[in-house]
Amino acid sequence: MSAVHDLGGRPGFGRIEREAREPVFHARWESRVMGMVYAIRRANWLNLDAFRHGIERMDPARYLAASYYERWLASLERTLPEVGALTPGAAPPPAGPYGFEREVGAPARFAVGSTVRVRARKPVGHTRLPGYASGKRGTVVSVRGGYVFPDTNAHGLGEQPQHLYSVRFSARELWGESAEPRTSVCIDLFEPYLEADPVPSSAEETRDGA
């Protein structure tokens, strides 16, 4: 049972509303919020994972009703006090290495072509494992290297870098009988989300997910 922000595959949503000649921002405050987030992150006051977790903790009804930049604003209001940024005289944590790519101590467990099974999504806290992939079997299509692990980094538990994989799932594996034909979804998944699956994908899945 996944939180409301975890939207992939959730039924009940209707038409996708598009806007002709859409401006970059729909109001001046949106541009200020965007600029604040970029500037605060540049000043190392907020890591991306904690910022996202701030969004995910919004009231679920408000989350769905809010515009994108309202979610950003709500997360700033929540997370900046949490990290102590608004305490007079506070200094940001020392800047670590740039970006998200990191060395991982251990070798990668999986290789291109490995069949893997996704573990159950952890029930609490931040994660980048989409609920619709929980328990599903897929095939590694790319080994992406080591990256900061959001599940710990969002909670002040360190970067704990992990190997990242692009894993392809056939639509039939994900959605069963209601799947569209010849369709697959590729998801970027961290090694701790995955376990080896000795059962090779079926012929049907290989065709759909090739």
Binding site: R10, M36, E101
Partner: protein, 221 residues
């Protein structure tokens, strides 16, 4: 390609719904209050925000992606580099870009293979390269539906794919950002690289449209 951001060329967006909608007014007030506090505490400078906003309003946009695609169509060696090491290939073009902490991955459409990009958990998008994403990309309906029924979603965007085409959805759930390399449109064999740029819309870089003359997709570029 036509620049998409030329709504008025000036700072300050006084859209009709902003002053009249009390909810929007409250949001504007909250944002203003937070900015004032952050400036007072010395955490951010207004000028930094101004500069970031200006850059994303006026410089960084889908034109970057269009230039990469046109070059890839024109130069097979460049295309090979773009598909295998996008970061290095992008650097060759000296495009106006934002912070590039997240590597770009380019996925190629070909006869029988169509790619489309989404972020179901939030709204990750190759903003450093393509500018800020359109609203629909960040909307719950797109995020919920495109992984489950990509063909139906593409049909809503006016793109009916043959049944024989493999549809590959990329859910950018980590710190990689995906851009689609669309197929070169038939009939463009003799176009110059500059002419090819005009054929590449933002939507074709996300994968919800094909590349082609603007007339083919009048409603939404």
């Amino acid at each position: 390609m036509a620049h998409e951001h030329d709504h008025d060329g000036e700072h300050g967006h006084d859209h009709a719904h902003e002053p009249s909608d009390p909810e929007a007014a409250r949001l504007a007030l909250r944002a203003e209050a937070l900015e004032a506090l952050l400036v007072e505490r010395g955490i951010v400078r207004r000028e930094s925000i101004d500069a970031i906003v200006a850059r994303y309003e006026n410089e960084i946009g889908p034109l970057n992606g269009a230039k990469l695609v046109a070059r890839a169509w024109s130069d097979p060696e460049f295309k090979r580099r773009l598909l295998t090491d996008a970061r290095a290939a992008i650097a060759e073009l000296s495009l106006p870009m934002g912070e590039t902490a997240t590597p770009i991955v380019v996925v190629e459409n070909s006869p029988g293979v169509h790619n489309v990009v989404v972020c179901t958990l939030c709204s990750c998008y190759p903003s450093s390269l393509l500018g800020l994403p359109p609203r629909w990309y960040k909307s719950p309906p797109y995020r919920a539906r495109v992984v489950r029924e990509p063909r139906a979603v593409l049909r809503e965007f006016g793109l009916e794919l043959p049944e024989s085409t493999d549809v590959r959805v990329w859910d950018s759930s980590a710190e990689l950002r995906y851009m689609v390399l669309p197929e070169r449109p038939p009939g463009s064999e003799r176009a110059s690289e500059a002419e090819l740029v005009e054929l590449v819309s933002r939507d074709s870089l996300i994968g919800v449209a094909l590349a082609g003359p603007p007339a083919e997709a009048p409603r939404e570029r």
